[in-house]
């Protein structure tokens, strides 16, 4: 009779960290039965989606500030940015609530301000951003004739735009700080890379989203070209940052860059979202279909980057060696 394998006796054991591989005899073992030292983060699609949309929201507000409202394309870009900002400011808390389970639970975070906790700082940033974005959108609605004109006079656009750009940039970046200020080895190792990558990815995604919106609304070649150029810079910075992080993290970065997950990151983010979209944008001539396709590639790449980051963190938590000597 064949002896049952460990995994067969206790199918659940592998889920709780029993290694399938050979385990060294105890007097040599350098871990506790290869069992995880850390706990896996419980963050699922809702947190990933929030990171992604928060990046777009932040980048979008910077574009509003950058947009030149002296020409038609710039005006449309700024208008889209204000509307997209307030829309995402409404969607993001809803996504966070879906993660927490009940709406009241979101309010628990508004009972204290805690500078030591990036999540607390972030939720207040989101709160401030949401209110200011609503004000900014109200001004835009008045400009567009939806709301009475006197409301536009009450909204201090010249002040709101830069303030929102600052809050927005903060929201695009703080999620990276939040993630890397944990014990998870791959996240901790990326304390400098992940926040910068989050900002770059957020700006690139925002440019892509706006390029697509602009293309669907009409023909604004100058503004579209500017968006493409900024997207190119942000994307290339992201590409370089990812590659540098991969080399810098080495063994600790494997859950992110190796195996099927690494292949997915390369395919969708590095090749598709960055190189693919850039090549599409560089093709001569401009058409709506081309712009929207390039934007879709960039956005998909941005989402896959966030997903890879979170999922890699879970596997990284399972590595007792990386968790024993934690990155500074």
């Amino acid at each position: 009779m064949k002896a049952p394998e460990l995994g067969a006796i206790s199918p659940d054991a592998s889920a709780r960290g029993v290694s399938d591989g050979p385990v060294l005899p105890p007097h040599q073992a350098d871990t506790y039965y290869e069992r995880p030292l850390l706990k896996r983060p419980h963050w699922e699609w809702n947190v990933i989606l929030y990171l992604f949309l928060g990046g777009i929201m932040g980048g979008s507000s910077s574009l509003v500030l950058l947009a030149d409202e002296h020409d038609e394309g710039g005006r449309v870009l700024a208008r889209n940015g204000r509307y997209l900002g307030v829309t995402l400011a409404l969607v993001c808390p809803a996504i966070l609530v879906s993660h927490l389970g009940r709406p009241e639970r979101f309010l628990n975070m508004l009972r204290i301000v805690k500078l030591k906790s990036p999540m607390s700082v972030g939720v207040w940033g989101l709160f401030a951003y949401g209110n200011l974005a609503a004000l900014s959108a109200a001004g835009q609605l008045a400009d567009d004739g939806v709301l009475p004109g006197w409301i536009a006079d009450l909204v201090p656009k010249a002040l709101l735009d830069p303030v929102l750009a600052i809050f927005g940039s903060f929201i695009a970046g703080y999620t990276g700080v939040l993630i890397s200020a944990t014990a998870i080895p791959v996240w901790a190792k990326g304390k400098r890379h992940i926040p910068a990558l989050s900002v770059c990815s957020g700006v690139a995604s925002a440019c892509a989203a706006h390029a697509a919106l602009l293309a669907l609304e009409g023909d604004f070649p100058e503004t579209a070209a500017k968006l493409e150029r900024l997207e190119l810079v942000a994307s290339l910075a992201e590409l370089a940052g990812l590659e540098h992080f991969r080399r810098y993290a080495g063994e600790i970065g494997k859950p992110m860059f190796d195996g099927p997950r690494g292949r997915k990151l390369r395919t969708f983010t590095q090749y598709g979202g960055i190189l693919g979209a850039t090549l599409l944008n560089l093709l001569p001539g401009h058409s709506r279909v081309k712009t929207v396709a390039a934007s879709a590639l960039t956005l998909l790449g941005g989402y896959v980057f966030r997903e890879t980051l979170i999922e890699a963190g879970k596997d990284s938590a399972d590595d007792p060696r990386a968790a024993s000597r934690q990155p500074e």
Partner: protein
């Protein structure tokens, strides 16, 4: 005054009375029946509803050494109640507090289940208590104080050792220390415990047993641990981190790098978008 645990692993006999006492007093559900194959350890890890965990390491002598060199390490693991606690700093609701006994305590009615404390613990202690689900006999929501409908219906909350806050309130010893038959787990004032522990290390050294204190007098960002240990092998053999790092120490670098990226892109954007 700070209260804590001194867990002397050289006195532990692996009876798991601490695990049982903790489960009983705190009304924590069972972990289910799973055979790990890892010595006598079927508990396997601390968790949201497992606040004491006895680790077993059977170290057989290598073939070329006498059998007397074999030994069996046992350690009752618990939340460390760090001086600088990662979970405490991460908690965005203020649910995790340092109570009047200087212990790290999760207020269950304030915890919103965001899960940020879970990856923020450098020791992998705190975990979310899952949604109510009795179907497989393992999922549940109940830690005695949060057994309300609302918590059962949606989302979990974080759970970990309270250092028996309720027992301490009325002057009782925490359940695990009370139940420990060998005084491997000692509860008391942390300064007194440290003195006791240092004396124990010296006494063991006189007998030729090399031992050291884990979580005392070490230069780490988490600071001294209110629940510390006397160990006779390297920390990682007991699944303790050799070098724990307080996660918030990485924030300045993170904020700086994010701000730099944002400023650089803003400048490039300005150059591109200016007329």
């Amino acid at each position: 005054m700070a209260n804590g645990f001194f867990t002397d692993t050289t006195l532990c006999i692996g009876c798991k009375a601490c695990e049982v006492a903790c489960k009983q007093w705190n009304q924590l559900p069972a972990d289910g029946y799973e055979f790990s194959g890892n010595s006598y350890d079927n508990t396997m890890a601390l968790g949201g509803a497992t606040w004491r965990h006895v680790a077993f390491v059977e170290q057989q002598a290598p073939p070329d050494e006498p059998p007397s060199e074999s030994r069996w390490l046992m350690m009752s693991d618990v939340c460390k109640h760090c001086t600088n606690a990662g979970c405490h700093e991460a908690c965005p609701t203020g649910a995790i507090v340092r109570n009047e006994f200087d212990d790290v305590y999760i207020q269950p009615d304030i915890c919103n289940g965001c899960g940020y404390c879970v990856p923020s613990c450098p020791f992998g202690v705190v975990d979310l208590i899952a949604h109510a689900d009795y179907s497989d006999g393992r999922g549940f929501v109940s830690d005695g104080r949060t057994n309300d409908d609302a918590t059962q219906k949606s989302g979990g909350i974080a759970g970990k050792c309270t250092l028996c806050y309720d027992r301490q309130k009325v002057g009782f010893t925490p359940a695990c220390a009370k139940a420990c038959p060998t005084e491997s787990i000692v509860f008391g004032d942390v300064d007194q415990l440290k003195a006791q522990a240092r004396a124990r290390v010296e006494k063991l050294a006189e007998r030729g047993v090399p031992a050291y204190l884990y979580g005392v007098d070490t230069d780490t960002s988490v600071g001294d641990l209110n629940a510390f240990f006397l160990l006779t092998d390297r920390p990682e053999k007991y699944n303790l981190p050799e070098r724990p790092v307080l996660p918030s120490t990485r924030q300045p670098a993170g904020y700086a790098s994010g701000a730099f990226a944002a400023a650089a892109l803003a400048y490039v954007g300005y150059l591109i978008f200016r007329r």
